[in-house]
Amino acid sequence: MMRWRRTAAIALRYFYLLRGSPARIVPLFAWVGIDIVLWGFISRYLNTMANRGFNFVPALLGAVLLWDFLIRIMQGVTMAFFEDVWSRNFLNIFATPLYIVEYLGGLVLSSIATSTVGLLVMLLLATTFFGLSFAAYGLVLVQFLFALFLFGIALGVFASAVVLRLGPAAEWFIWPIPALLSPFAGVFYPLSTLPEWMQGISRLLPPAYVFEGVRSIVSGRAASGAALTWGATLAALYLVLACWFFARTYRHAVRTGLIARYSAESLS
C-alpha cells in the first residue's frame, strides 16, 4: 500500500535543501523573472509598432509565462532527482521500503512547491508591471495550466529516467529538452507557420494545443475545448509512459547492479 509519509519524506528532503541554500532558492524565480521582464518590454515595444487594437502582452508575455511554467515544472522534478545523484544517495534511498511510485510522488510534490514559487513571481511581475490580465483567458487558463503541468511532470520523470540509465554525466542531455521542443510547441507563432513535417510533430505535443488556444483567445475567438482536452489527454498518456519508463529503467539498474554502483555509469 502506498504510504504518503514516505512520499512526504522525499519532498521534505528537498525542502530542507532549499531552506538552507540561496543557490537553490534564487534560481526558482530569478530566470523566470528575467524572462518576464525581457518579454514584457518586447511586448510593450511591439504594441507601439503594430496595428492599434492588437495587444502583444497576452499573446507573447502570456505565452512566455506559460512556457516558463512548463519548464519550471519539469526542472522541479529533475532537480529533486539530481539531488540524489549529486549526493550519491541511491543506495540509501533504494534500499528502503520506498516504492518507485512513492519516490516519484515525492519528486512531483517537490516540483509543485518549487514551480509555484516561480509561477507566483511571474504572475506578480507580469500583472504589476506589464498589465497582463488573466481575465482575458478566462477559466480556460486552468485547462492550459493543467495540460502544461501534466506534460512538465512527464518530461521531468522521463529526463530523470534517462539520467538514471546513462549516469550522472547525462544530465547535460536534460537541460536542452525544452529548447528542443519549443520550435514545435509554437510558443510564439501559429503552427500553420511550420512546414508540414514539423506540424506533424507539433500535433503530438500537448503544449502546441495550449499555445494555439492562447492565440485563439487573443484573437477574440474561443479556445477549442476539444483540442485542449486532447492536449491534456496526450499529456496524461505521456505521464503514464514516463512513469513506466522510469520503473523499467529502475528495474534494469537493479538487475545490472547500477543502483549500487551508480558512479560507474554502466555495468552492462
Partner: protein, 262 residues
C-alpha cells in the same frame, strides 16, 4: 510500479531473520556470487568474511534489494524479498562505509527523512535516543558532510538502527572509527542483537573484532562460501591460532579449504 497489495502476505514466525538460498550473481563472464546459501538466526551476529572481491558486498546488495540475483531467493522473517520487497525491507536496515548519508543535510534532517521512509513510530523520541546512543547530540544540526569520517559512520549506524530492524546489515561498520568508538559500536551492536528478535550480518576485515563480536562466521572466497561455523570451532578444526591466520589461508589457498562447511 504500483505497489502490490501485500496485506495477504503475513510473515511467519520464522526462527531465522534471514534465509538466503542459492544466491547467484554474474557480471558478464565474471561470477561474483556462486550458489551462496546461509541464514541469520534471532539474536545472532553472523560475520561475512572474505578477501576483497570475494562477493560480500554483492551478497549484501542482493539482501538489500538493490541488486537482483540471477537466481536464488532472500527471505527476511519469512517474507520473500522478490515478491514483497517493501514489506521485507521494512524489517531491514544497513550501514556501509561506501554509503554515507547526504552530506548537505544535517544529522537530524537525515534521521528524520529516513525515519519517515521506514515508518518509525514516535520518530522524535527515537531520533533523540539515537543521538544520545551514538554520542551525536552536539552534531544534531551539523551537516553530515562537515563531520569526520568516524562521526559520519556513527550517523550511518544511528540511521541503521532507527527503525529497530529485525535484520541489520553492517558492511565494515568500524572501518573509520578510533579504537574507543569501535568498541562502543561493537557493544551497541551486541546489545542490539541480544535485546530482541533481531539478527545482524556483519562484514569486517578486522579479525580480532570479528572473533569478539560474531557468534558465527562465513568465509567467502571467489563468490562461494568455503567455511562456516563458530570462530573457535573453525580455528580448532583447521589448526589455526587466530581468525586472521584462517582468513589469510582462505584468501591465499581457497581451493584447499573448499567443502569445509559445517
Amino acid at each position: 510500479m504500483t505497489p502490490p497489495d501485500e496485506s495477504q502476505s503475513a510473515p511467519d514466525a520464522s526462527p531465522q531473520v534471514l534465509v538466503a538460498t542459492e544466491l547467484c550473481k554474474s557480471y558478464g563472464e565474471v561470477v561474483a556470487v556462486d550458489h551462496v546459501s546461509f541464514s541469520v538466526g534471532r539474536g545472532e551476529i553472523v560475520g561475512l568474511l572474505g578477501p576483497n572481491g570475494a562477493g560480500k558486498t554483492t551478497t549484501i546488495n542482493m539482501i538489500l534489494g538493490v541488486l537482483e540475483p540471477d537466481s536464488g531467493s532472500v527471505q527476511i522473517e519469512g517474507v520473500d524479498l522478490a515478491a514483497h520487497r517493501s514489506r521485507a525491507l521494512e524489517r531491514t536496515n544497513f550501514a556501509a562505509v561506501y554509503a554515507p548519508l547526504p552530506g548537505n543535510l544535517t544529522v537530524f534532517q537525515n534521521l528524520r527523512i529516513f525515519g519517515l521512509i521506514y515508518g518509525v513510530e514516535n520518530l522524535a523520541g527515537r531520533i533523540a535516543a539515537s543521538l544520545e546512543q551514538f554520542d551525536l547530540v552536539r552534531f544534531r544540526d551539523v551537516r553530515c558532510g562537515a563531520l569526520s569520517s568516524g562521526e559520519q559512520t556513527r550517523v550511518s549506524l544511528a540511521k541503521a538502527m532507527l527503525n529497530s530492524p529485525r535484520l541489520l546489515l553492517l558492511d565494515e561498520p568500524t572501518a573509520s572509527l578510533d579504537p574507543a568508538a569501535a568498541r562502543d559500536v561493537r557493544a551497541s551492536v551486541r546489545e542490539f542483537a541480544t535485546r530482541g528478535e533481531r539478527g545482524v550480518l556483519w562484514t569486517s576485515h578486522n579479525m580480532y573484532e570479528t572473533e569478539a563480536v560474531c557468534d558465527r562466521v562465513l568465509f567467502l572466497s571467489r563468490g562461494k562460501i568455503l567455511l562456516e561455523g563458530q570462530p573457535k570451532t573453525l580455528l580448532r578444526q583447521h589448526g589455526m591460532a587466530t581468525l586472521e591466520d584462517l582468513f589469510i589461508a582462505v584468501a591465499r589457498e581457497p581451493l584447499t579449504l573448499e567443502g569445509h562447511r559445517q
